[in-house]
Amino acid sequence: MSRFSKQIASYWQQTGAVIRNEFHTIFTDKGVILILVFALLIYATAYSLAYGSQVLRNVPIGVVDECRTPTSRALIDAFNSGPNTYVAYTPTSMEEAKELFHARKIYGVVYIPSDYERNLYGGEQANVAIYCDASYFLMYRQVFQELVTSIGQTGAMVEFQRLVAKGANIPQARATTQPVIYQSHNLFNPYLGYGTFVMPAIIMVIIQQTMLIGIGMIGGTWREFGLYHKLCPAGRRRMSTLPIVVGRALVYALIYAVTCTLVLGLLYRLFHFPMNGDPWTVGIFMVAYMSACIAMGIAVSTLFRYRENSLLLLLWTSIPMLMVSGVSFPREGIPEWLYNLGQLLPSSHGVDGFIRVQTMGASTAEVFGEIKWLIILTIVYGGLACIGIHQVIRRELKQREAACAAEKGRSE
């Protein structure tokens, strides 16, 4: 056998040993199983359940009707007939409305003045006042949209009737009432479901975070108890860290292949999240994302000295990482430098690319930019992981040697 094939064979052997050792470590450690295997499934299910209803409907509002005529009641009916609001209370005064508001019984108030009908029939402009609670974004959007649409439709109806009464023919009256029909179509998420919006991003971030914390916990445990050197085959002079990194990465990849298939196959179907991606594209993208996450996980894990450190130090980063990926808080609102810094995280590319593949049906070519970045990150973090493991093992071996020497010195 040539030297080269000998080397390959020994690498192969070492990788096999690393894989066996890794499986043993993970599946004999409840804490690690909980985070690496179950956390993704538990969280993905919990969040999907919370966001499962997708849309906010029937927000209670109050109407103060000073007019009390069939015309004003028609307007109230218009608020009631839309999907987003219903008139829960008709308080008699604004004071009363305010109390209901503070008690969180209603989230919007419409005030119809007493001259509403008179103005409307007298060819004048009738005024109503609307008060929307903007302390909750979704609440505000639903209430405001519904009120404005109802009022607009009521107004258009009146205008149309007035024109026809003046003798205009119907197409003409229509064109004058509404010269430009504006139609807005929501693509990929027609009812603007909240789950459809956030779940892809949350799932991607959970994958990365559970990997960082889980692998970090393994690394911390090994360092706390001095187990790293076991990864290095006994009697080997030159240390090769590449098989260690590759072997460990394969194990994590295998675990996540199973859990991700469950999440993307089963959970996605159960909760009817959009699956517009071509399965091959989704697969390729996930492989790239997973490699970057694992490489980063192994690189970071060499920094933790104790078992619990990864959890203590990394748990809080989940929300900031979700934020810099530009989903919950739009990219246009993030300072440029912070966004660019976020590009060092696999999740930023992963979230963006995954939404485009799975929700919007983008092809591999259309997310090539993200895949390229994920590969670059895999290489960079993979290199750092090799260096990190090399350092840790060297330090551990030195310490053992020193301990051995001390032991010897004492026994002599």
């Binding site: 402009q125 909750y136 974004f137 504006y182 479901g193 609102g333």
Partner: protein, 392 residues
Amino acid sequence: MPGFFHNVYAVARRETRRLIHQPMYLVLMVVLPVVSFSFFAILFGQGAIRNVPIAVLDQDNTTLSRKVVQMIDETPTAMVSYGIQDMAEGERLMREGKVMAIIQIPAFFEKSILSNSQTHLENYVSGTNITVNGLLSKDIQTAVTTFSAGIQLQLLMKQGLTERQAMAQLMPVRFDKHVLFNPHINYGYYLAPSFLPMMLMIFVVMVTTFSLGTELKLSTSREWIETAGDSVWAALIGKLLPITVVMFLIGLVMLIVNFKIVGTPLNGSLAMILVGTLFFILSYQSISVLIVSLLANLRLSLSIGGGYSVLAFTFSGLTFPIMAMWEPMQWVSWFFPFTFYTDLFVDQMLRGTPWVYSLPDLGYMALFIVLPMLCLPRLKRVATEEKFWGRL
């Protein structure tokens, strides 16, 4: 009773020494909270969301169609970045993540308007980000409505109406809009009061669990109880008090970041917010004690406590209202003190609710402080029996 205070003092002194000597406490109680608050202060510093790129497919290419495109471009949210030749090109741009919306203006747009017949304008907005979608849809709709109203006004005035008459004709029902509490829809005002307390909570849970759990992990818990003269109450109060004090001070830093740097208004009672913050910290400390007592394992307690605290955000209803959730999920939201704290916080910060309305929230948080204390006998057993120590 003096003996009790003496014991509490002894434990508090022991705890303070531990806090100073283990650098992890400094990191968890001061460094990381401040880093995370700064992160959100920077993130929300920009405030409003502006210039989201969109594409325009102008099949008419006339003065009027260019006019409406210009009006859309001038809105705060939308920025026309691409003029495209067909819808396929627009779809590709959208899938590549370069535009969030496509505006389509049909041929004969101008001609239809001038000849007084109806035409249309289509807006295809991506629904993948409902925040951007909401802002973009609203701005584009406003621009098109304004454009359309301008045309109507001209048409009606040509027919001999005065401007006042024409206005009454084209908009028979006018509305005065009052956007309460967040008139400029500053997105930071929504998110800062939720994320900043979220960070505070995570660190309270982490540091409390860590300080109790390490006693078990390093088998020092009997010494801890002995310092308190074998009183588990004195042991617990003495241990938690220094952490409570530090975390409350960090809570003040959080409030300063929120009100002074992010710049949210303070329309209600500051006293109520301060009391609420104290209750909030105590309730999560109390829950951490419960978790450690039940599990008697540092790392598992951290996992469970961490998982529990991260979930709180979703169920608080700040982004997705509790009202909209399925009913069983609405019950789940009652299991998190965070829900009540953010209610109180939003009420007192933005809505200017009279403080009486926030008392129930304080009451619920108080329950979370008191109820977990039922586990104290178990805590004493765990702390004094060796079989619970040194677990991984």
